[in-house]
Amino acid sequence: MKFVKGIVILLAFYGVGVAASKWLHIPLPGNLVGMLLLTLGLCMGWIRMDWVEQAGTFLIRHMLLFFVPIIVGVASYLNVFTQNPLPIILSMVLGPFLVMLVTGVVVQWYLKHQKQKAEPSLQQEGRTLDA
């Protein structure tokens, strides 16, 4: 029952997100608007975590399944590789590689830099949130 309630809440936020993005011309897709709204709702205490936690965790755990039909559907585009293989393959491998490396190094550098500045007690407080 808790599961069904959670699913209904998630669907409602998704619906509101899609409607808001469409009617208010927000330049973000509806699912991301819905995610931001639910984050707001959870942080402000309008929505209680235990209402959505079970259903949400289930959906997130099986998120890869929801990608399967989309990727199988676009697999027919594999033939673009025959037209200009080298630029595509290079972009597909070099792109994620460099983006991941640069982003990770920048964020890690910032965190280290901040850790040196911050008081040890404050840092500990931040760390315990992980658990």
């Binding site: 936020f13 929801f66 039909p69 983006v99």
Partner: protein, 221 residues
């Protein structure tokens, strides 16, 4: 109607099979295995890709509520995020710039097809944003969806060695790096690893979508 039902069944069976294979051979990427299994099964049983697409919509619809559900790990980590948001923004801005520069540089050096080039510009952001972006800059949305999916899968595939090589060990840095480079596919791959990484990756995915949209404004004229 019956073929749609079979498409749903085949997708779930392929996914289930892939998770079972992944449990034994952890190096294999479950999404790639699932796609290969489903594609092969459908090709053997039916081969009617229009029916598959119609049935598949019943499954891919749940990507919407699942993305909304990413608010749960996000809300749990919001205090820590508020503490480090500047670093996150800095990292995502740098990463998105690199994503676009790589595509432009390769296009200039090797001269790829114009339509392919424009469809690749948005490839590292989450699929719904990538579709809209490629449409606004004159790319082909279906091709953009293909490149986006491929980028996500390559990103997940190379994640472990790249992060190790770059000595990126902090949970937030890992999550942001994966969310920026491999969008929702990367985020989905993290959920069994760490809730902090999942939250970080969800944040990065949203921020990267916004930043890339801003970066690509000059291309829409």
């Amino acid at each position: 109607m019956l073929s749609q039902f079979f498409a749903i069944l085949v997708s779930i069976a392929g996914y289930k099979g892939a998770t079972m294979i992944n449990a034994r051979f952890q190096r294999l990427q479950p999404l790639l295995v699932a796609v290969i299994l489903v594609w092969t099964m459908w090709w053997v049983f039916s081969g009617d890709w229009e029916a598959f697409a119609a049935g598949g919509q019943w499954i891919s619809f749940w990507l919407g509520p699942a993305t909304v559900a990413l608010a749960i790990p996000l809300a749990k980590q919001i205090k820590e995020f508020a503490h480090i948001w500047r670093g996150v923004l800095l990292g995502v801005c740098a990463g998105c710039a690199v994503a676009i520069i790589v595509v432009i540089a390769i296009h200039w050096c090797l001269g790829s097809d114009e339509l392919v080039f424009k469809s690749m510009l948005s490839k590292s952001v989450t699929t719904p944003i990538a579709l809209e972006l490629s449409r606004s800059i004159g790319g082909e949305p279906a091709l953009a969806a293909f490149f986006t999916a491929l980028t996500g899968m390559v990103g997940v595939l190379i994640a472990r060695p790249v992060l190790k090589w770059g000595k990126i060990t902090d949970d937030w840095a890992i999550g942001i790096a994966i969310g920026t480079s491999a969008h929702a596919i990367g985020t989905a791959s993290l959920n069994r690893v760490s809730p902090v990484q999942t939250a970080a990756s969800s944040v990065a995915m949203i921020v990267a979508g916004v930043i890339t949209s801003i970066y690509l404004i000059p291309f829409s004229f």
